[in-house]
Symmetry: C2
Subunit: 238 residues, 2 copies
Amino acid sequence: MPKYQEIANILRTRIKNKTYPPDSLLPNQTDLVEEFGVSRMTVKKAIGILAMEGLVYSQRGAGTKILNHPFLKKDTTALTVYEGLSTEMGKAGRKLVSQVIDFQVEFPDQTIQEKLMLTEEQPIYSIVRLRILEDQPFILEYTYMPVHLVPNLTRGHLESSIYRYVKEELGVQFAGAYRTIAADKSTAYDQQYLDCKADDPVLEIEQIVYQKNGSPIEFSRSRNRYDVRAYSYLDVQH
Amino acid sequence: MPKYQEIANILRTRIKNKTYPPDSLLPNQTDLVEEFGVSRMTVKKAIGILAMEGLVYSQRGAGTKILNHPFLKKDTTALTVYEGLSTEMGKAGRKLVSQVIDFQVEFPDQTIQEKLMLTEEQPIYSIVRLRILEDQPFILEYTYMPVHLVPNLTRGHLESSIYRYVKEELGVQFAGAYRTIAADKSTAYDQQYLDCKADDPVLEIEQIVYQKNGSPIEFSRSRNRYDVRAYSYLDVQH
DNA sequence: GAGTGGTCTAGACCACTCG
DNA sequence: GAGTGGTCTAGACCACTCG
C-alpha cells in the first residue's frame, strides 16, 4: 500500500474518533511532513483523498478544516462503490436472499446490443431475480451480461452473488457505472413478485457497469418497492 | 489557470474531436512532457482529471487508453455539478419558467433545524415553486434556506435563479450536495400543480447543499412528474 | 528486456488568509 | 508580515505489461 494511502487512513481514523474534532483545523502540511517523515507532495495527496470523501476542506492560506456533515453518520459509502447488492447488505449486517425467477441464454435484442456494445450474434445471459431482504421482497431485478465475459455462470452464483464470482473468481476489475433513476407505475408482474398494491409506484434503477478496460459487462434494470428503498449519495465538487 | 488544467483541456479537446480516437492509447507521459514542456508530475495530474471524468483509463505498464463510453455522447456533466435547475436547462437550450406559489419567512420546524443545522430561533425562507419547462409543469419544489446566509432574497430571484443570486451576487462557494432519490405516490397537491393523474407516481429528490466552509445552505424536496424527468449520473471508481 | 505509468523526494515560488 | 496550502520541477526507483 502506498504511503499516501496509509497516511490517509491514519488521518481518517483520527477524524472519525474525534482526535481532530469537527470544525477544527488539521495540523498544517509541514507538521504532517515531520510527523510522518515523508515529503509534502505525499501529505498533500493523502489530504486530497479525504477531501474527495467530503471529510475535510482545504483552503489556500487558511488551512484544512475538518467538516461535520450529517452524512458522516450515515452509511453512504456502500452506495457510491459498485459491489453488488449482496455485498452491500452483508456489510450492513442484513440478510439478503436471491430467488432466481428466470435464467436463460439468448441473443440480445437491439436495446441490449447498444447498452452492452454487442453484435446480434454475441449471446447474453438473461436473468430475472427477486431480491428478498429479511423475508420481505423488495427488488425485482433484470440482469443482462455477455456470455463471453462471464463464462460458466451457474444458478448457484445467481443465488449467492454474481458480483463476487465475477470479481473474485474471474478477476474482473470494475471501472464504474452509469445509472439512471426514475419512478414508474408498477406492472402486474411487479405487483405479483414485490407483493405490492396496484397503485403503488416503483423506483427503477437502470445501470450499465463498465470494466476497467472500457467494455460494459452488465446492464440491469431493478424495480424497487417504493416504500422500502431510496437511493442516496454524496456529490462532492472538485 | 494552472498548467495541469490547461493541458487537461487540450487533451480533452483532442479526445472529443477524435484526434485521439476511442480505444487508442494516449501518447505516453514522457512524450507529453516533451510536447508541453512541463514536468511529468504535471502531465500526470492533467491525465488524472480526464480519468476522473471517465474519459481515459491508465494502467501501469500498459499506457493510457481512450475510453468509448456511450455516456460521452450524453449530457451528464450538468447533473453532477450543482448549479441549479435554471442554469442546467439554460445550458441545454431549454426554456424554464419558475412560478412562485408561496414565499414565506418563518422559524424552522424540527426536521429543517436538523437538516440545515439551525436552532429554532434562526429564521428560514420557505419557498414553493412550480418549475415549468417549455410550457409543461414538471417539478413542484419546496426549498428552505437560512435567512442569515441568503440576505435580501426577493421574489425576483425566485422567478429567475436563486443559484445565480447566491453564487454570483453573494459570492457563496458550494462544496457539494447530499441527495436522496425515491419514488412516491402523488398527493392531491402534486396532481393539481403538476397536472398529473391520481395514479401517477412522482420522483422525489431531496437534497442538502453545502457551502465550502461546511455549513448547509439549502434543503429542498422536489416532486418530479414521473414521465418527464429521470435522474442520471456517472459513478467512476477511484 | 523495453516501455509504461505509479510513487516519492527535496526543494522552490507563489497566491491567499488573517490579524 | 507570518503562516497557510497550491503548483511545479527534475530527478529517482519501482511494479507492471507485453511480446
